[in-house]
Each structure stands twice: as structure tokens, then as C-alpha cells.
């Protein structure tokens, strides 16, 4: 983070991420909110690149901008038309309070903590290191996550399965 390029990139990406995230809650139309949300995801991917976490950045694009956004598209499309806008709800005030508290906590902690600055430079290649860590030291959480996801997938299939056989 010493050279000017990284600093400029960081501030631009941070503005993009936060700005479009604010847009998500401000915009009325749900599809526009989704587009802004994807922009925010891409901004986060850019921030990962400035941290030289290339694998995490690409995974962010692949999973969030590619897959989660499609999940949200399906969720919006399967919602009845009447509720497709960012309507006002009675949960607005509690939600703002909660979000404010979370933001305050994170800001407070990050400002109060005495961060130690690492002496070494950026990482070289992270993909193989992450792969080895996942399949050796952290193999148990990794496998548990995959089993959990499988159970969730099966559960979803069972839940949406229509009752009985369809008409022949």
C-alpha cells in the first residue's frame, strides 16, 4: 500500500463498493438494486486484488457476481409482482439501528486496535497454498461444509417437490 497506484485503486474501489451498497438500499426497483449489489460485489473483488489475494478475488467474482446474483434473480422472479419494490416495512427502524450498531462496532474496533504492520511484501501465488491448507490442515471443516451444503440442497429439493405424481 505504499505506491500511489494502490492507494488510488483502494479509494476508488472503496467508493464504488460503499456507494453502490448504499444505492442498494436507496433504490426502489429491486432489479436495479440487484445490479448495484453486483457492482458492490465486484468492488469487493477489486479490493481483494489490491491485497494480492488473487484467488479470493476471482472466487468472489465467480461466486458472488456470478452465482449469488443469479440466485437473487431467481428469488426476485419467483416473488409475486406486488412485492417487487423496496417497500417500506415496519422493520425499517430496527434494521437501521442494528446496521448502525454493527457499523459502529466494526469502526470502533478497527480504530482502537493497535494493528501490527507486517514487514514482508505481498503474497506470490495463493491458489495452491489455499488448496493445500483446505485439504490438509482444514480438511475436517472443508468436508463438513460440503456435507452441509449437500444436505441443504437435498432439503431444498424435498421441500419444493410437488405432492403426489402430476397428472398423466
Amino acid at each position: 500500500m505504499d505506491d500511489a497506484g494502490s492507494v488510488i485503486a483502494f479509494w476508488l474501489l472503496a467508493a464504488l463498493t460503499v456507494g453502490s451498497a448504499l444505492g442498494v438500499i436507496a433504490v426502489r426497483d429491486l432489479i436495479r438494486a440487484l445490479v448495484l449489489l453486483i457492482t458492490s460485489f465486484l468492488g469487493v473483488a477489486g479490493l481483494y486484488i489490491t491485497l494480492s489475494a488473487d484467488f479470493v478475488a476471482v472466487a468472489q467474482v465467480l461466486i458472488y457476481a456470478g452465482a449469488i446474483s443469479i440466485l437473487l434473480i431467481f428469488a426476485i422472479m419467483l416473488t409475486p409482482r406486488a412485492s417487487r419494490d423496496n417497500a417500506e416495512t415496519f422493520l425499517q427502524v430496527p434494521a437501521f439501528l442494528l446496521a448502525g450498531l454493527v457499523a459502529f462496532t466494526i469502526a470502533f474496533i478497527s480504530l482502537q486496535t493497535d494493528w501490527s504492520i507486517a514487514e514482508r511484501g505481498g503474497f506470490g501465488e495463493t491458489a495452491s497454498a489455499i488448496g493445500e491448507a483446505l485439504l490438509s490442515k482444514y480438511v475436517l471443516p472443508f468436508e463438513m461444509a460440503s456435507v452441509l451444503l449437500l444436505v441443504a440442497m437435498l432439503g431444498a429439493i424435498v421441500l419444493v417437490r410437488p405432492e403426489g405424481t402430476p397428472e398423466e
Binding site: A4, I31, D54, F55, V58, A59, G66, A67, E168
Partner: protein, 421 residues
């Protein structure tokens, strides 16, 4: 490879850029970011120019080839043999009125054709066109290609949604549904390549193939087939172009686009086709190398000829095969390609493990793997196809809930009176 110096040495176009960079650094003593920006801009402009020229040529070539395949002539009026047809087309698209529907979501309607270009062009950043001719050789290149390709859907969905047209929305939703099915297969297919090459850097995959003189086409035939099918789905090439199937839903997601906005979609489709061909050539066909031929012929020329050959395959399938229905396409992904791709990854992993742990010479191991995988691919495709084709009638899918919601037309056989067989 001998030293590259002379200006007429066309084997490596990268050394022109290098000499410009050296001149900037040594003679003008420019700071680092200037050289960085200059080399980036040169690369981008070169890739863009090449893409535009290729696209203009292939509009004519594709239409002539398809015409020949369908026993008609094709464009032959504008210029000699119709050669100026692409230019006439481009002028027509530029001059036509670009209508915006009154009820369209205006910002998104404008954003759709712009965004559709991004994934198609950004992919070329990681493609090695020749020795030292890569814009950015990322160490997660393979994953980058897949990730960027998946964002294509967002652009298509924005276009289809903002048109405020039911056919456009149907086309967009079909794309979305297809992508989540076929992205998985793309990832699994490329996993086989990465397992063999041991790197996700596209330059190293090419180097691996050049070092062992073994194109991954021979080691991973099943991966190649599933990757090409999944990619054809992702870029909406016929016969998988059900998101713009003109016999069902007018023109799919770009129904409401006219003039140059339609031209953007048309161009982006070609760009995406070239991108997928480039990835296929790099990962499966040895990239810019060809068993030592790259010593004599410019590597980028080899790369481009392979690329055009793969693109011709796409044209060929378009001219030959009928369009699939959406439920067929979805079932094909989940029931046919997915199990095969999983088996392929398992086999590839086992082979590489045996090769590494067993200390087998690559001259022995790779031919065995090649033959074994080819036999396995043929057996799996034929066997699984036969098995799926002979399911008992009561176990075959009667209706697909999701695909029906997405506009699938499906046929319910009439009830037979009891007693008849």
C-alpha cells in the same frame, strides 16, 4: 528460440512492445506507471483491432458457409462475391434508428448492450497469443476465464428484463437457468485440465503441453467435449441458442433492441465465440505451440489458425444440428454431462496421482493415459446414453417444473384407454 531482434522478425510481436518500453524507460526515463499504461494500451488496442477485423471477416465467412451447408448461395451481391456485405451490414446497423420502448427501464436498457461486451473482451487479457504476447498472465487464469464468463448472464438478464417484453424476459430467464447448469460442467471440465497441467496459469498450461508434446485434447477428450458444449450454451451459439430461439420467442433477450444496440449484441456474440475458441485452443490444443513448428512459423499465426478452426466447428454445428428444447438442454446438463464430468475428474486425478507417485516415465504414462481416456470417453458417452435412453417409461421425467416456468413447451402424451398395451 534464437534471439529476436530484427524488425522483420514476425515470430514474436511482443518484442516491438518491448522495444517501445525500453525506449520509454532508457531514452525518456519515464516512470514505471507510464510504461505500465503504455504496454496495457498497446495490448488492448491490438486485441480490439484484431477482434473487429476477425468479426467483420467472419460475418461474411459464416454466412457463406451456412449458405453452402443449407444448399443456398449466401450473400453475393455487395462487392465481389459479397465480400463487402459485413461493411454494408455495419453501416445499416449504424444508420438505423435505435428504438427505446416507452415502458422500458431506460438506464438498464442502455446498460445491457454495453455490459455484454465486458466479459467477451476481458477474457482475452489472459490468453497467450504467442511467446510473450499475453496482456496479463494471471496465476488464476483458468478460474478467471470461468468467472468472467459467468458475468455474461447478468448483462443478458439486464437486457431482457429492462425491455419490458415477455419474450425478452423469457429469453433472459432461459439464459440464467442454462448458465447455472452449464457453469458447473465448465468448471469440472477445466478441473481435469488443471489437474494434469498442475497450474491455473494459462501460460503454464501451454508450456506443459509443449514440454510433454501432448495436447490435452488427447489426454482429456471428455473434458474437451463437455467444455465445448457448455461454452456453446454460455455464448448462445446454435444449437444451444434457446435464449434467442427465433422460432419460439421472437429474438429472446434482444427482441426490443434495434439499430446499433442490436449490433452490439451481434458483435458481442462473435467476440464471445472467439473468446471461447481462444480458451479451447489454449487449454486443449497446445495454444501457440505445435510440436516444434513454432520455431519456424510465428506462434500467434498458429494460435489464430487453431482458433479459427475451433470457431469453424461452432459454425459447423450451427449449420448442422437442430435447436434443442430448454428441458432437453437442462436435462442434458444434469443427467448426462454432469456424471460424465465427475467421472472424468476422478479418473484424471487418479492418473496424475499414479504418474507422480509411481515415478512412471512420461513417455510411457502419457500415451497410456491418452488411449485409456479416449476409450473411457467413448464408452461413457455411448454407455450412459444407452442407459439413459432405456429407462423404464414410468421413471422418465414427465414434467420439469422450473423449465416449464421458463417457457418450455412440453408434450403430454394422450391417455390410452385401459387394456391397450
Amino acid at each position: 528460440m534464437p534471439a529476436l531482434a530484427a524488425w522483420y522478425d514476425l515470430r514474436d510481436l511482443g518484442h516491438y512492445v518491448t522495444s517501445v518500453i525500453n525506449w520509454l524507460q532508457d531514452d525518456l526515463s519515464a516512470p514505471d506507471w507510464v510504461t505500465y499504461v503504455v504496454s496495457g494500451v498497446i495490448g488492448i488496442v491490438a486485441i480490439l483491432l484484431w477482434l473487429l477485423i476477425s468479426q467483420l471477416s467472419f460475418i461474411w465467412i459464416e454466412r457463406r458457409i451456412i449458405g453452402r451447408m443449407q444448399a443456398r448461395i449466401g450473400p453475393n451481391r455487395v462487392g465481389p462475391r459479397g465480400l463487402l456485405q459485413p461493411i454494408a451490414d455495419a453501416l445499416k446497423l449504424l444508420l438505423k434508428e435505435a428504438i427505446t420502448v416507452r415502458l422500458a427501464d431506460r438506464p438498464l436498457f442502455w446498460l445491457g448492450p454495453v455490459l455484454i461486451f465486458v466479459p467477451a473482451m476481458v477474457v482475452f487479457a489472459v490468453i497467450p497469443f504467442g511467446k510473450g504476447m499475453t496482456l496479463a498472465d494471471l496465476n488464476v487464469g483458468v478460474l478467471f476465464v470461468i468467472a468472467i464468463g459467468s458475468t455474461n448472464t447478468v448483462a443478458v438478464f439486464i437486457a431482457g428484463w429492462s425491455s419490458n417484453n415477455k419474450f425478452a424476459l423469457l429469453g433472459a430467464m432461459r439464459t440464467v437457468a442454462m448458465l447455472i447448469s452449464y457453469e458447473l460442467i465448465q468448471v469440472l471440465a477445466l478441473l481435469g485440465v488443471v489437474v494434469f497441467a498442475g497450474s491455473m496459469r494459462l501460460g503454464e498450461v501451454v508450456a506443459w503441453q509443449s514440454h510433454y508434446n501432448a495436447w490435452l485434447l488427447f489426454l482429456q477428450p471428455l473434458a474437451l467435449v463437455s467444455f465445448m458444449i457448455a461454452s456453446a450454451v454460455e455464448i448462445n451459439r446454435s444449437p444451444m441458442d434457446i435464449s434467442e430461439a427465433e422460432s419460439e420467442i421472437v429474438a429472446g433477450y434482444h427482441t426490443e433492441y434495434s439499430g446499433i444496440k442490436f449490433g452490439f449484441f451481434y458483435t458481442a456474440e462473435y467476440f464471445a465465440g472467439f473468446a471461447i475458441s481462444a480458451v479451447t485452443v489454449t487449454l486443449f490444443l497446445g495454444g501457440w505451440t505445435a510440436w516444434g513448428l513454432e520455431e519456424w512459423v510465428p506462434g500467434w499465426l498458429l494460435f489464430l489458425s487453431k482458433l479459427y478452426l475451433v470457431f469453424f466447428l461452432f459454425i459447423w454445428t450451427r449449420g448442422t444440428l437442430p435447436r434443442l428444447r430448454i428441458d432437453q438442454l437442462m436435462a442434458f446438463a444434469w443427467k448426462f454431462l454432469l456424471p460424465l464430468a465427475l467421472v472424468n475428474v476422478l479418473v484424471a486425478g487418479g492418473e496424475v496421482l499414479a504418474w507422480r507417485e509411481g515415478d512412471i516415465s512420461s513417455n510411457v504414462a502419457l500415451p497410456i493415459f491418452g488411449v485409456a481416456n479416449a476409450v473411457l470417453a467413448a464408452q461413457l458417452i455411448i454407455g450412459w446414453g444407452t442407459f439413459m435412453g432405456h429407462l423404464k417409461p414410468e421413471r422418465r421425467a414427465k414434467r420439469a417444473v422450473l423449465t416449464q416456468e421458463l417457457g418450455a413447451v412440453y408434450y403430454v402424451p394422450p391417455k390410452r384407454p385401459a387394456g391397450e398395451p
